[in-house]
Amino acid sequence: MPSNVSAPASGERRHRRSLAGHIERVLPRLVVAPSLGVALFFVYGYMLWTFLLSLTNSRMLPQYDFVGFAQYARLFANERWHVAATNLVVFGGLFIVSCLVIGLLLAIFLDQRIRQEGALRTIYLYPMALSLIVTGVVWRWLLNPGLGIQAMVRGWGFEDFTFNWLVDSDMAIYTLVIAAVWQASGFVMALFLAGLRSIDDSLFQAAALDGASLPRIYTRIVLPSLRPVVFSSVMILAHIAIKSFDLVMALTGGGPGYATDLPATFMYAHTFTRGQIGLGSASAIMMLCGVLAILVPYLYSELRGQRHG
């Protein structure tokens, strides 16, 4: 730019045009800069700070006596962390797969040009409008053996019916899956429905003319073309699963015992209520590493695929 401006003036107009061009080039960067700066500072800056804290023996307040990776060693020796990490794998895996399967099936059924589709779609989509706290409280009541489903079925005369997962430390983690799937599968359905609608009808007709059966049309034509939808759904569901904190707090409070602890609740408890900021930061960094380990390869393969095809 300096060469342009200081070049021998060959006329006012040319100068002005170059100025306009200059502004045109710089303006978008100027507009983006503040939000970029904010993101850099508040997201990446704090990630870095958390990482630094995880290398210290900070207790109640941050302090900077560096102890290397001692907090990570303590974290992996911690029984409760193992429970939390295992729970995330169980909960996250089941949650994502169930939501995708249920969402896809609902979308395919709704896509059969049925009557009252709008009303049905709204009904399935509505749970997503609720806060996870509300979902948690409602399901806590439903799953409470003395109040909810078990009490109701027993009231119908099936005295031996038991459905006490909420109070069973081995099964409680699945109650989180039930509530979370109930909440999110309608949303996944909406995404898939949009994807299905974008598939050209002529594809169906052509396939049908070629004698393909309906299941074959879905598995060979429809599903592959829904790949970008699956991609977005997995992204959204994965981040819901990893940040699940409110649902655990409302539904089980991490209990019975700490049977339904997730890394997010572990991190919160240790950092903020137990005065172990160092250990809590180490667990936060491990969560980040877990997310990166899953998302980076997935992003890479998906985005590369897009560039090629």
Binding site: L147, G257, H270, Q276
Partner: protein, 417 residues
């Protein structure tokens, strides 16, 4: 025009004079439920009568967990409130980090050392100086019982040994009631466990195990026996304890669904709110084998280091109001606890508070006065959390052996150091 100037100058002067010894102080506390809020409001009125301004900073929830989180963030940002409700060993931690001030002046002027129990105020001192003022004493080891349910089940008194307790529990169960009301939250599990353990082990054992966290005590036979008794209590509760709040459990006793609850004396507030009279409509009795013991939980107001002289004065005034006799009576009647001043007469208090004071005196003489671990009076936050984890996991896992739990206690406590 001149008069207006003079008036304005006069007003300014008056304001300046007023500011020299009166100030606004911000008070962080978690006295937010019915009786507690009333008690906090009383303190506010008395402080404002002295010309200071009380800036209320109430943070509800989680037995102070949320309040502590807020306090930490305020302290990190360099803007802590002047006064904050802090408990037990945490006061010393804040003091060691250099956040707390010194209120020895108020202590000397009012002669605190003459009427405060030394075991309890030790937690309010940092390096021998008062940094906090104790407000009250709660007793943790209580059984709250519904006499009608007991009678209906053919149990003529609240059990005094654990064998008796389990026999009574069978009878109560047969009569169609829940023997022990409980809420399955870690702190409630720990409350019941510490009460069981102090009964079986006694004061010295309790201090070794839960104050010093001595590995030998934590793996001793006494500890194993306590853990086994604790686990057996699971069978005397109903199935739906998961996540239940303590006051819901109390209401089960009030409504006659359950016979008893083990809980600190704040439970009294629920009975009072239901219009019940102690000794008639409900009973407060020491849990098995803890009659001469007193597990205490004390609220304290810690004074943060402030530069402003007016604020310092307000802190001193607040401290001396807190320990004034009439405030001690009014506050503790509203909160269900007993006065921390030993020279306050309990004539106007209910039967349970009087019994609490008697137990306190006996426990002090016989070495049965112990700080409650479940309520943050005995060990640091991180160690308390580690103990909670093991206790609550043991209680909820039908397959875990008492021996395994006691070993885990040792390793968890060591890891949290």
């Amino acid at each position: 025009m001149k008069t207006i100037h003079a008036l304005a100058a006069g007003a300014l002067l008056a304001a300046a004079v007023g500011q020299a010894n009166a100030a606004e102080i911000e008070v962080l506390h978690w006295w937010t439920s019915g009786g507690e809020a009333k008690a906090a409001n009383l303190l506010k009125e008395k402080l404002e009568a002295k010309g200071h301004t009380w800036k209320d900073f109430a943070v509800a929830g989680g037995a102070g967990d949320s309040a502590m989180t807020v306090l930490k963030s305020r302290a990190i940002s360099g803007n802590p409130p002047a006064v904050a409700q802090i408990k037990g060993p945490l006061i010393k931690e804040w003091g060691d980090m250099g956040f707390l001030g010194n209120i020895d002046k108020a202590a000397e002027a009012d002669g605190w050392d003459d009427f405060l129990p030394q075991e309890i105020v030790a937690a309010d001192k940092v390096d021998g100086h008062y940094a906090a003022v104790p407000v009250n004493i709660h007793r943790i080891n209580w059984i709250w019982a519904n006499p009608e349910v007991l009678e209906d089940s053919g149990v003529d008194h609240v059990p005094q040994t654990w064998d008796e307790f389990f026999d009574a529990a069978d009878k109560i169960r047969e009569a169609g009631y829940i023997p022990l009301a409980h809420g399955g939250q870690p702190w409630q599990d720990a409350t019941v466990f510490e009460v069981v353990m102090m009964g079986i082990g006694g004061g010295d054992f309790y201090r070794k195990a839960f104050v010093d966290l001595d590995p030998e005590a934590l793996t001793s036979d006494t500890m194993i026996k306590s853990l086994k008794t604790f686990k057996k209590l699971r069978g005397t509760m109903d199935e739906n304890i998961a996540g239940r709040d303590w006051n819901i459990a109390t209401s089960m006793v009030i409504n006659g669904k359950a016979a008893m609850q083990i809980m600190g004396d704040w439970a009294k507030g629920e009975f009072t709110a239901a219009g019940m009279t102690p000794g008639e409509d409900y009973e407060c009795v020491a849990p098995p084998m803890t009659e001469s013991m007193f597990s205490y939980n004390t609220d304290s107001l810690a004074m943060f280091d402030v530069d402003d002289e007016g604020k310092q004065q307000a802190q001193l005034d607040l401290a001396s109001i807190v320990l004034s006799k009439d405030f001690q009576v009014q506050f503790n009647q509203a909160k269900g606890s007993i006065p921390v001043r030993l020279d306050v007469s309990l004539d106007d208090f209910d039967a349970c508070a009087k019994a609490s004071r008697e137990a306190f005196d006996v426990a002090m003489d016989e070495g049965g006065l112990v700080p409650s671990l479940a309520h943050g009076m005995a060990v640091s936050d991180s160690q308390q959390g580690a103990v909670f984890d093991v206790i609550t996991n043991f209680f909820n896992d039908p397959d875990m052996k008492a021996e395994t739990a006691s070993e885990r206690l040792v390793s968890a406590v060591r890891a949290a150091e």
